[in-house]
Structures are given as structure tokens and as C-alpha cells.
Symmetry: C2
Subunit: 341 residues, 2 copies
């Protein structure tokens, strides 16, 4: 069943049927009803390819998925996608996912953009001085960046959480509890959020005249394995830190294992605050010692970015270009007063 057949069936022109379907005002309400009714009965669905060819709009948002033989998939990606999807499904949008080698991000993004397969781009895994920004600006296609790029002019559309503020607040909480020896388990050094979180910690410490020792910072992929290793390292330091800031509940998982193995008690000998992306897999409240966290739902961010992207494509704008979400500091049992030496 195509437009032509449908319009013949109705004794109308393709034009009128098309207009009725797309909500144009110049069509009689009665005829519109009749068309809608016929659609229901015949199960007619417009051919997307043709629609796209005619309009230039694809009804899809594109994203690059880092992947390569040996490349680790990322839990956060799936969670974020779920958020995008939740919104996309409401607008009959879909995703086009371009798998690409992480070393090939810029080129992959460009390919995706010029492929004509997508109306808008979503970009994540931002780095400091990210080279993709220049490319995106040169394209004439809407995009939203998840995160920001430290060191680049902030003149691009983004949605980010206040990483610096989150870790600043978390650090202050630990300071108030009397801690003075801090360590930070962070994500990969080149990633924007890692840079900002570190800055947050440092500026809170600086206010008290404290510093973050170089040996007390780890940068690694956010897996439990790396968490374990990093924590084992911290625990062997001569001046063992009592307060740990952790960029992910996944890292925290390994870290806590190390704490337990060392015979220490979380929330007593060692205090820990982790950033919680609200991954359904790992609920901080159901850890054996519930985790104090800075919380911001990755999924909610996905929903919002999808809104902005789809809204822009549909010209249902205007949308704020730049959003910075505060995180919540949720105190649970993994933080406590500094132990008396």
C-alpha cells in the first residue's frame, strides 16, 4: 500500500492525502478524518526512504559507537542509549549507529554526517581540546555534545553535569568530617569529566591549604578491575589516604573489594564517595555498605539530549544551547568521620 493506491482508494489526490497526513492546515477537517480512517483500515505506512528523499529529513539521530577488536564496551553507553531511546520512541525517531574505531572518531563522525542517513548528531566521550568540535561546527547539521571539552571555547551546544561542583562538594563533605588525606580514582586522563572532577577536588582542598598528592590520583578505564588495582596502590602508601573520591560506582566496586581484603572497614577506616550515573546494574544503596554518592542520571541526560536534538530537527525550538546539571550529594554509610589515629 502506497500513497498513490491510498489516494485512489479515497478518490483524492496524493497531494491532499499527503497534506492530511502531515497536519497541514489547508485541508478540510472532514477529509482529514476520512483519510485518517482509511489509514487505520489499510495499515498504510509512508515509505521512509521516499519521505527522506523528498524532504531531506531522515527522522533519525546519529551516533558513533566506539568499538574495535579488543576495545572494551562501555556500560555507560548502553544506559545513555536507553535514555535517548525513551525519548526517540515518542517521536518515531530512530538511531543510526556508526560503529567506529576509537582512534577514528573524527573521520567516523564526518562519514556519518555526510552519509545523509541522519538529521542530527550526538557526540560523547569528550576530551580536552576535542578535535571533533571544529569539525562539527563546519558541518551544517544540528548536534549536541554530551559533556564539554576542557580548553575549548564553550560556544557549542552541550549538556553536561557540573563535574567540578560535584567533586568539590563531595570533597568538602569529607573535609568537614575531618579527613585530610585524600585520593582520587578517576577515569581516563584525557576525558573532560576526569579533568573537571580532579579540579573540583583540588579547589576544595586548596581552600583548606591541602593538596592532592600525585601518587594519590589514578587515571584508568572505569572497570572494577582497575578500581581494585588503584585502591590496592593507595592502601600501600606510607601516608594512607582515609578519604577516597571515585569517578564511578564501577570503580568503587573493585575499590571496596580491595578495602575488604585489606581488612579495613568502609565508612570507618576509609571513607569513599563515588559518582553515581544511576546504572541499574549497580545500585549504591545496595552495596554491603551503602555508598555515599554524587548522583546524576545518565539516562535522564539521554532523554533530555534526545529532546533537544529531535526538537531542533523538527524546528520545535528554541532550546537552550547549553545546560549544566547540578548533581545531588547523597550521604549514605560509606562516609564517616576520620578515624582517630
Amino acid at each position: 500500500m502506497n500513497l498513490k493506491q491510498l489516494s485512489e482508494l479515497l478518490g483524492l489526490s496524493q497531494t491532499t492525502v499527503s497534506r492530511a497526513l502531515n497536519g497541514y492546515p489547508e485541508v478540510n477537517e472532514a477529509t482529514r478524518e476520512r483519510v485518517l480512517q482509511a489509514v487505520k483500515e489499510t495499515g498504510y505506512r509512508p515509505n521512509k526512504a521516499a519521505q527522506r528523499l523528498a524532504t531531506g529529513k531522515a527522522g533519525s539521530i546519529g551516533l558513533v559507537m566506539p568499538t574495535a577488536p579488543g576495545h572494551q564496551s562501555d556500560v555507560h553507553f548502553g544506559e545513555f542509549l536507553a535514555g535517548l531511546g525513551e525519548e526517540a520512541v515518542r517521536h518515531d525517531f530512530h538511531f543510526v549507529i556508526m560503529p567506529a574505531d576509537p582512534d577514528d572518531e573524527v573521520a567516523a563522525l564526518r562519514r556519518l554526517a555526510i552519509s545523509g542517513n541522519v538529521d542530527a548528531l550526538f557526540v560523547a566521550y569528550m576530551r580536552g581540546h576535542d578535535p571533533r568540535l571544529a569539525m562539527l561546527k563546519s558541518l551544517s547539521m544540528p548536534y549536541v555534545v554530551h559533556g564539554r571539552s576542557f580548553g575549548s571555547e564553550p560556544d557549542y551546544p552541550y549538556l553536561d553535569i557540573d563535574n567540578e561542583g560535584a567533586f568539590y562538594d563531595a570533597t568538602r563533605l569529607l573535609l568537614q568530617l575531618g579527613h585530610t588525606r585524600f585520593a582520587l580514582m578517576n577515569g581516563p586522563m584525557h576525558l573532560d569529566f576526569a579533568i573537571r572532577r580532579k579540579n573540583g577536588v583540588m579547589s576544595a582542598l586548596a581552600e583548606r591549604g591541602l593538596t592532592l598528592e600525585e601518587g594519590c590520583v589514578s587515571h584508568a578505564l572505569m572497570t572494577d578491575e582497575q578500581g581494585l588495582l588503584a585502591m590496592e596502590h593507595f592502601l600501600q602508601l606510607p601516608e594512607r589516604p582515609t578519604a577516597i573520591l571515585c569517578s564511578s560506582t564501577v570503580l568503587a566496586l573493585g575499590a571496596i573489594r580491595a578495602v575488604n581484603q585489606a581488612g579495613l572497614r568502609l565508612g570507618e577506616d576509609i571513607s569513599l564517595i563515588a559518582h553515581d550515573d544511576v546504572l541499574p546494574l549497580l545500585k549504591p544503596e545496595s552495596f554491603s555498605v551503602p555508598l555515599t554518592t554524587t548522583r546524576s542520571s545518565l539516562r535522564a541526560a539521554g532523554v533530555r539530549i534526545a529532546q533537544r536534538l529531535i526538537g531542533t530537527v523538527k524546528q520545535a525550538g528554541p532550546f537552550p544551547d547549553q545546560e549544566l546539571w547540578k548533581t545531588e550529594l547523597i550521604v549514605r554509610a560509606s562516609t564517616g568521620p576520620v578515624p582517630q589515629a
Copy 2:
């Protein structure tokens, strides 16, 4: 730059240029060279929408992503996607992901199929007597099922792992170690793999005249939280099981926490074997007590399914219709002889 412009530039017809580009034999080699050269210089890229409209082929494989407000995203989904992507990138294929409510799977799949956006479908999260199979068969579109549907005629293309065999072997190992009291922490009851794994355990036990008590089986979402709960339950049973079979390393995570909290030692008081999908997030060898596992890479399955799907679309056939992969039983420290009472 489009075909028309390119062909005018070359002084050829669109027909010839199109043929040269698509490797048709009836074009002079010299002309073909000239065309290819011009493509390189101009950076011409065929418009996918037009190509698709003309050929009916989209160069993409479609999948439904279960998502809904409140619906948990699934780590396995992301990992599998990484595998699909790894292969897709080699063939310039992309994915179209249709987000859909889990209760709406059949309809979503149909919408995706008739949307004209995809050439082939990938279907996962199979259930016993899965209603999607009938629908897929009625479509005239290639598809591959990941998993199988217990209770349905196995006359559809699939790739599955030998879940029954895996859990049969795992159970036999534990039996050889002297265990007699077993428990199974499984995935949701309606899912195919859960049914088969349970069968595997039961048939190994039956060979020794043992049975799996009803109270010793849990069916739940595969999160660490559920793992914790299930294990706590098992540990309170009057005849506490000493051998645990576990459908996921994620469940094992929670389960082991429960074991530790109960003051028991994994691999001594309690033996545990988990199925390992080779999620990069959770490596069984880096658990505090390395986990004995049945292993099969989800990602590798993704690669293979993408091969079959893309191959079928490109008619690079023929592919085996049904593949059943054996799992590896890898013995580490979480299994040991039954403790002397």
C-alpha cells in the same frame, strides 16, 4: 555533488557512471578508471536515501532495544552491540535501533520491518514459545535470532550457545567434587536461556538420582542486587546448598557479597560456577576469589550474527541456518571439594 553533476563533469551518462561505481561488467575498464578518479577528486558520495529508494536496500540491520521509563537497561545489550558493530563497520553497514517498550516487542519488530529502514532483523531476548517467531516467518526479510525459543519448532535461523550443555557440565564438575546440595540462580523464568540452563542442571543431577529443590532455584533480573537477595535466601535454608550455579557474573557479584557477609569462604564453604558472557566490566579472573565459569563471548556472537545477516543481505550466502556454540568450562578458585560437615 550528485550523480547528475558527476556524469556531466565526465561527459558520460548517469547510467554509465552508476554502473562503473557499482561494479557492473559492461563498462569499459578505462572509463571505470576515469570515473573512480573523478569520485576521488570530487569526493562524491551517493545519496543513501535515493539509493535505497531505487534499490529497496538500506545497508542496515535493525534491532529492537527494550526500553521504557523505569525499564532497566541491560549490560548484555551493549556488549552484544559492540560485536555487531565490529563486523558492521567492515561492510559499511549501520544499525537502526528501534526503542520499544518490552511489552510491545512484536509490534515494534513489525513496525521496524515494514518501516523500510532496514534490510534484516536481529532478534534477542528470546522467550519460551516466543510469539515473534511466527511474525518473523510471515515477513519476507532475513533475520537471525540470538538464542532459541524453547517449545517452538526449531525451524528458524538462530545462533545460540549450548546453555543446557554448559550447565550440565558445570553441574557434573560440582558433582565430581562431591557436592550434593545444589542451588541455581537463574535469569527471568520466561527467557529461553533460563529454561535450558535449568534443564541442564536438572539432567546432570538426575543422573545421580538428585533433584533440584524448588526453593533452591531463583529467577530474577540479572543484577547484583538480585544476586545478593537470592544468595541470602539460599544461605538461610535448613539444608544450605554448597554448590551454586549462577546464570551471570553480575548475579555472582551480589551472591558473593552475601557469602562474605555470612562469614563463609567462597571455594571452600560454598562453591560457585557462573556463566561468563565475557563482559569487560566484570572479569571472573579478577574477582577476589577467581570464579570458575562457563564461558562464551557475547561479543563474538554479535560479530558472527552480523556476518550472517550482512552476508545474507548481500547474497554472499549461503550461511548455516542454525549454529549452536559450545561453551568453555574454565576452572578457577571458586569451586572446591564439598566441605566435610
